[in-house]
């Protein structure tokens, strides 16, 4: 299990050091600094073995978090725990920065004491932690309050406390997708997938039981069998094949496995209900058509066309195309039909920005790149052209069919809950080789 946890600033100074096991000595703190933080080379592995001690590290802005152990621990768990720790700290005091950590070091020690016992991760849900780890110090709690805290921390529904009340029961669903693409210069899709998240913000009273439904092909096909064949044919078109999905711990996994229904008691406030991945029938919102011509040894001509491929009534936003240029570029001349384009020498690329673009349109940029003559034998590697954008639909085709709320003890029904659904499609790694 985890033997010790250290937090360093970018210089390698220790901000937090908490040792859980005897086999991790004080010198472990220095070993990591000397061998990893101060090592000249780029970090080539997130797991480092120094003198029979294994170090797992993650970096957040310029803060290093490292876990040390001498045992054969569950490596995936250690990383998941480090991520979780970042989440918890962010939930308590905002961004992870040197100042914030120094200002809250007592709190951090208190948290570390609670969420990691003898190196074993314990309940680390922020909602539960905030009920009894506060900076004010817990004053006189009644016996009931105390046992409520402990039963929540250890209980089956560790993520929600009882007795929440809202005057207006409301919930928000955001379907956020990032669409990833790797395309060959000839326009062949080398790989494409959508990774999506359903984020829910719930402001609901009591302990509501929720049921979430979407146009999952497996569910729709199953229902289609029961209904008329006509209906099945109709809905079959709209359904999507989900390759795989993972759920927040509040979702009953065994129920999903057997009935493929998503039911849960939500945490209060914002949380990520599920993540999913699809690879079939993805709507690629943009197509990039590159044309690079080398004119002699000192000149390149680049022409890039982008085509939007969705309903004309919808608008894409924050469009940005990055066209990489060689390292020996001396000057660039750009002409574009729409938006603004600039050559950024520091980033070795031409950045072309368009604020808005409707569906089924196309736009074009052409650039002349002057090169300095070099004697470098190696050809320019031609990194891919990347693209960023935001569109108001889900590229996977996912649709929310319903989200039903049941709360038997309190006096409100599914109809009284105000529900909001929003779809956002963003570019993930959206690249076209040139």
């Amino acid at each position: 299990m985890i033997g010790g946890l250290f937090i360093y600033n970018h210089k390698g100074e220790v901000l937090i050091s908490r040792v859980y096991r005897d086999d991790i000595g004080r010198n472990a703190v220095d070993a990591f600094r000397v061998n990893v933080i101060h090592a000249r080379q780029q970090v080539r592995c997130p797991v480092t073995n120094i003198a029979r001690t294994s170090f797992f590290h993650v970096k957040r802005s310029n803060i290093w978090l490292a876990a040390a152990t001498k045992q054969n621990v569950n490596a995936a768990m250690v990383f998941e725990f480090l991520y979780k720790m970042c989440d918890v700290m962010t939930a308590y005091f905002g961004k992870l920065s040197e100042d914030n950590i120094k200002n809250n070091f007592v709190l951090i020690y208190e948290l570390l004491d609670e969420i990691l016992d003898f190196g074993y991760p314990q309940n680390s849900e922020t909602g539960a932690l905030k009920t009894f780890i506060t900076q004010q110090g817990v004053k006189s709690q009644t016996k009931e309050e105390q046992s409520q805290i402990t039963s929540q921390v250890t209980g089956q529904i560790g993520w929600r406390r009882e007795g929440i009340k809202y005057r207006r029961n409301e919930l928000f669903l955001d379907v956020m997708e990032s669409v990833n693409l790797l395309m060959s210069p000839q326009g062949q899709v080398l790989s494409a997938h959508v990774s999506g998240r359903v984020v829910m913000k719930s402001y609901l009273s009591g302990m509501p039981e929720c049921k979430f439904g979407m146009n999952d092909k497996i569910v729709i096909d199953k229902q289609g069998k029961g209904g008329s064949s006509d209906e099945a044919g109709k809905s079959g078109k709209q359904s999507i094949a989900i390759d795989d999905c993972t759920f927040n711990q509040c979702v009953r996994l065994s129920k999903f496995d057997s009935e493929r229904s998503i039911s849960f008691i939500p945490p209060d406030g914002e949380f990520e209900l599920m993540r999913y991945r699809t690879t079939k029938d993805i709507i690629l919102p943009f197509r990039v058509i590159p044309l690079v011509r080398e004119v002699g040894r000192t000149k390149l001509e680049v022409k890039v066309v982008i085509k939007s491929n969705f309903k004309p009534s919808l608008l894409a936003q924050k469009i940005e195309v990055r066209i990489p240029t060689p390292l020996n570029t001396s000057g660039v001349q750009v002409i574009c039909m729409k938006g603004k384009a600039k050559y950024k020498a520091s980033e070795n690329s031409i950045v072309w920005k368009i604020k808005r673009m409707a569906g089924m349109k196309e736009s074009q940029i052409s650039a002349e790149i002057e090169l300095l003559p070099t004697n470098d034998k190696k050809k320019w590697a031609r990194p891919p052209i990347s693209m960023n954008f935001e569109v108001p639909f889900a590229p996977s085709g996912l649709k929310v069919r319903y989200l039903k709320v049941f709360e038997s003890k309190l006096n409100y029904s599914d109809h009284d809950v105000i529900k909001w659904v929003r779809y956002i499609g963003r570019s993930g790694i959206y690249e076209t080789r040139c």
Partner: protein, 926 residues
């Protein structure tokens, strides 16, 4: 938010000031002071002198202050029982107290801890119980005996039936950890009832608890396939968990239990299908988790390639992936490459070969070569891709490409030789030994087709002594090949290289090989041709495969560090070699003849074994040394040395094409270590230092057709048991395993026996088994006796052999001069032994040089009355030092051996020393 100010105070007399503040009347001031103390502690200052003052602050009902004080206590507690807090009405404080007490590692305190802990384990509040469960593990770490005596293990087992899932999870975690160091491995008492309880808790506890439970479940061996299937059914939903560690642990359980399911059942096929999507999903996580996932997928792909064979696209490298993710993805891509997807894979690899990171580019180039070897249909395209890359003239790309082209030549002889001309153009730009050696090998191998082969090789000869050993050896072989192919024009060249290798070089490997060639060429050129230009063994398609038994063990460790390092836990965890290794479950009632590979085989007690061994006729007096002469020219070369081996029980040269003739073949004709070949150093050492003579340890007649011959050696600081298995039966043999009985040096195999493919009739296989000396020790007679059990699908066989003591001589056996002097004097006379060596005509320097090669170090040299006196030391793996005095008189050197610790070593040591010196001398003069 002003806590950071506590870090900044750094004045004189700080401790004094803090002391005053801690005793301040005002509560707030005291709280401030404790914060300062903690800050000082964090930066590493010694604030232990404030102990009583800080403890005074504990009497408060302020929880925050209390926690701070406890934090301080954990670091500095010398003695202070905290029992009272365990009775506190607030469960948070009770739990805090028990948590903290477990961290105080002072024996006296732990005694106080027992009573409160017992109460807390039965506390009404689950929060206290789950904390107490972990506390038992802490206590076990401090005082294992006490935990057992106090019955805490039983209390923990009771907690598995607790109503609260988190208590169950923590109890499971604690018990799992304790059982790792506990002699009774089934501490958890995993039976169907308990498993059911765990599976129920699995649905209800936190993500971390699920990991503990799944890791524990993976250690369970279901009694039949029905049970295995029902557990799998209840574990499968975990594959959809958002926490990647839960997913990987679930994959581990499923991968293990898959072994128990019948391969043709529907459920088996469905389960395999279910495994692939979650593994792919892991790759959309954070890069660190991706890395862990990829290392595991690498194992899973080797074990069950069918799971991910359709998914090769997800392993395509993204431009912005961190380098560690890129390298791992590339590895998996090659494993998944097949005829169906090769076009896509090649296009990708070509793309990668133009990237920036040098390591990555090299690996991509190497991957193209591996594709060519793996998928025959693609070989032509791969070769042309490689040629394109060579045209780029990027130095490291060219060199890497040449290395892989050599392998392609090996795999497809007489197919792509047309490109040799292009390769030769790049001769001058090669500066890495690997690439130079590869190029030289190609020139030597195809000398008859390259018009100016002699010129090319001659150009390398100019700076012969500046080349690395690898290049020198290859060059030597290449020129001999050239000579055998075009004898008329290259006589001068071969003379030149032989004299460079034998007379001007001080590298023993090179010199020895030079002599072998020289002799071979001068005695019998026909045989020389047969040996040097012999047909080469095939190279394997897959490379870097993990040895199957290790792979099975690593599958049992999916998700853990072992799976990230691809090493068994005992390779990197201290003090863990005693613990039981994990193995995959074995399907019950399987029809195949294969017995479980990893089931411990009981070596019969010594008495029985001795009886057995006598039956095997292995005792030295029973058998007349049997030396069989070879029909090869090479025999003359080595024949003279055979007499020296009379001290050993049986010596047989294999008359068949296996064993040592084969070794010589390989040694002489393939002077490079490509895939599928054993390293040249090993062969050279085997052939030259140990006379290349394998003793027959287990004759075929006694082992149902399996013949084992072997020898021991020490190379680069590691010990090896080099064996040759020959199948003289009519059926094929599989499932080899080996085990040693306890022995004087605690010698055990480092890795399991690696025999991948079935051993066909009349086939033989050479194995080099790495050894170490961390096993159990039992004194044997003679001291260097080793009893071995070898098993295959037919039966278990026993034999014993003598370990040459020289392999126990460690590299750091050089004693300090002063220490040597002092020790020499202290050794009692009865520990001293004296021997004489006859017919030795060497001077002192040569002798000490030769001995040093075998880790016997010369500490000092004196000249007394015209005689050279050498003082030498050597150290055995078990820490015994042996000191020696060597007196050299022309024609009659006296060797006095003095032994520091254990006189019993000496009689055995003598033949060893004798052997080493004698064989060295012989090699020198022959």
């Amino acid at each position: 938010m002003t806590d950071s100010k506590y870090f900044t105070t750094n004045k004189k007399g700080e401790i004094f000031e803090l002391k005053a503040e801690l005793n301040n009347e005002k509560k707030e001031k005291r709280k401030e002071a404790v914060k300062k103390v903690i800050a000082a502690m964090t930066v590493g200052k010694d604030v232990s002198s404030l102990f009583p003052d800080v403890v005074n602050c504990m009497q408060t009902d302020n929880l925050e202050l209390k926690k701070l004080v406890y934090l301080y206590l954990m670091n500095y507690a010398k003695s202070h029982p905290l029992c009272t807090d365990c009775e506190d009405p607030n469960p948070l404080i009770r739990a805090l107290a028990v948590r903290t007490m477990g961290c105080i590692r002072v024996d006296k305190i732990t005694e106080y801890l027992c009573e409160p802990l017992r109460k807390c384990l039965k506390d009404e509040d689950p929060y206290v119980r789950k904390t107490a469960a972990v506390c038992v593990a802490k206590l076990h770490d401090i005082n294992a005996q006490m935990v057992e005596d106090q019955g805490f293990l039983d209390s923990l087992r009771d907690l598995i039936a607790d109503s609260n899932p988190m208590v169950v999870a923590n109890a499971v975690a604690a018990l799992s950890e304790i059982s790792e160091s506990h002699p009774n491995s089934n501490l958890l008492d995993l039976n169907p009832q308990n498993i059911n309880k765990l599976l129920t808790a699995l649905n209800e506890c936190t993500e971390w608890g699920q990991i503990f439970i799944l890791d524990c479940l993976s250690n369970y061996n279901p009694k039949d396939e029905r049970e295995a299937q029902s557990i799998c059914e209840r574990v499968t939903p975990r594959l959809s968990h958002a926490n990647s560690a839960v997913v990987l642990s679930a994959v581990k359980v499923l991968m293990k239990f898959l072994e128990l399911l019948p391969k043709d059942s529907d459920y088996y096929i469905t389960l395999l299908k279910k495994l692939s999507p979650p593994l792919v999903t892991l790759l959309s996580g954070e890069p660190e988790v991706q890395y862990v996932a990829l290392r595991n997928i690498n194992l899973i792909v080797q074990k069950r390639p069918e799971i991910l064979k359709q998914e090769i696209k997800v392993f395509f490298v993204k431009y912005n992936d961190p380098i560690y993710v890129k390298l791992e993805k590339l590895d998996i891509m090659i494993r998944l490459a097949s005829q169906a997807n090769i076009a896509q894979v090649l296009a990708e690899l070509k793309e990668y070969a133009t990237e920036v990171d040098v390591d990555f580019v090299r690996k991509a180039v190497r991957a193209i070569g591996r594709c060519a070897i793996k998928v025959e249909q693609s070989a032509e395209r791969c070769v042309s891709t490689l040629l394109d890359l060579i045209q780029t003239k990027v130095n490291y790309v060219v060199q890497e490409a040449i290395v892989v082209i050599r392998d392609i030549f090996r795999k497809y002889p007489n197919k792509y030789e047309s490109i040799i001309a292009t390769l030769c153009e790049n001769l001058d730009s090669l500066d890495e030994p690997d690439a130079r050696a590869a190029m030289i090998w190609i020139v030597g191998e195809y000398a008859e087709r390259i018009d100016n082969a002699d010129e090319l090789l001659e150009s390398f000869l100019e700076g012969f002594h500046d080349e690395s050993t690898q290049v020198q050896l290859t060059l030597l072989t290449a020129i001999v090949k050239l000579f055998l192919k075009k004898p008329s024009e290259t006589q001068e060249l071969v003379q030149q290289v032989l004299s460079l290798a034998t007379q001007d070089s001080d590298n023993p490997d090179l010199r020895d090989r030079g002599y072998i060639y020289w002799r071979l060429l001068s005695t019998d050129p026909v045989t020389a041709k047969e040996v040097v230009l012999s047909e080469k063994p095939l190279i394997s398609e897959e490379t870097d495969l993990i040895e199957p038994t290790l792979l099975d063990e690593l599958i049992c460790h999916i998700g853990s560090l072992a799976s990230v390092y691809h090493k068994p836990p005992n390779a990197f965890v201290e003090g863990s070699h005693g613990i039981h290794r994990k193995h995959l479950p074995i399907q019950h009632g399987s029809s195949g003849p294969a017995a479980p590979v990893d089931q411990p085989q009981v070596i019969p007690s010594q008495g029985d074994l001795l009886g057995d061994l006598l039956n095997l006729d292995l005792g030295p007096p029973v058998n007349v040394p049997q030396v069989c002469s070879m029909q090869m020219g090479a025999v003359d070369l080595l024949g003279g040395g055979l007499d020296s081996l009379v001290s050993d029980p049986i010596i047989i040269m294999h008359p068949t094409l296996c064993g040592w003739k084969n070794i010589i073949y390989v040694l002489l004709s393939n002077s490079w270590s490509g895939p599928g070949l054993i390293s040249v150093d090993f062969l050279l050492l085997l052939a030259v230092l140990n006379f290349c003579v394998l003793q027959v340890w287990l004759p075929a007649a006694k082992a149902k057709g399996l013949e084992i011959s072997g020898t021991f050696s020490r190379r680069q600081g590691h010990m090896y048991m080099d064996m040759s298995f020959t199948n003289k039966a009519l059926q094929h043999m599989t499932d080899f395993a080996i085990q040693f009985n306890k022995n004087s040096f605690g010698m055990i195999p480092t890795t399991p026996l690696a025999v991948h493919t079935p051993l066909m009739p009349n086939q033989s296989i050479d194995i080099s088994l790495p050894l170490n000396t961390i096993g159990p020790v039992m004194k044997m007679d003679p001291l260097n006796n080793l009893q071995v059990a070898v098993k295959n699908n037919i039966d278990v066989f026993y034999f014993s052999c003598l370990i040459p003591l020289s392999i126990f001589f460690v590299e750091d056996g050089k004693m300090e001069r002063q220490v040597f002097l002092a020790t020499w004097k202290d050794i009692p006379n009865e520990n001293e032994l004296q021997y004489q060596i006859k017919e030795c005509h060497l001077n002192a320097d040569t002798v000490s040089g030769k001995l040093q090669n075998n880790n016997i170090y010369t500490i000092a040299k004196r000249n007394v009355e015209g005689q050279d006196m050498l003082y030498q030391s050597l150290k055995l793996t078990n820490g015994i030092w042996i000191l020696a005095e060597l007196r050299i008189q022309p024609g009659n050197p006296n060797y006095t051996v003095k032994n520091t610790l254990n006189e019993k070593v000496c009689p055995n040591l003598w033949p060893v020393l004798y052997n080493i010196i004698w064989m060295q001398l012989w090699m020198y003069y022959s």
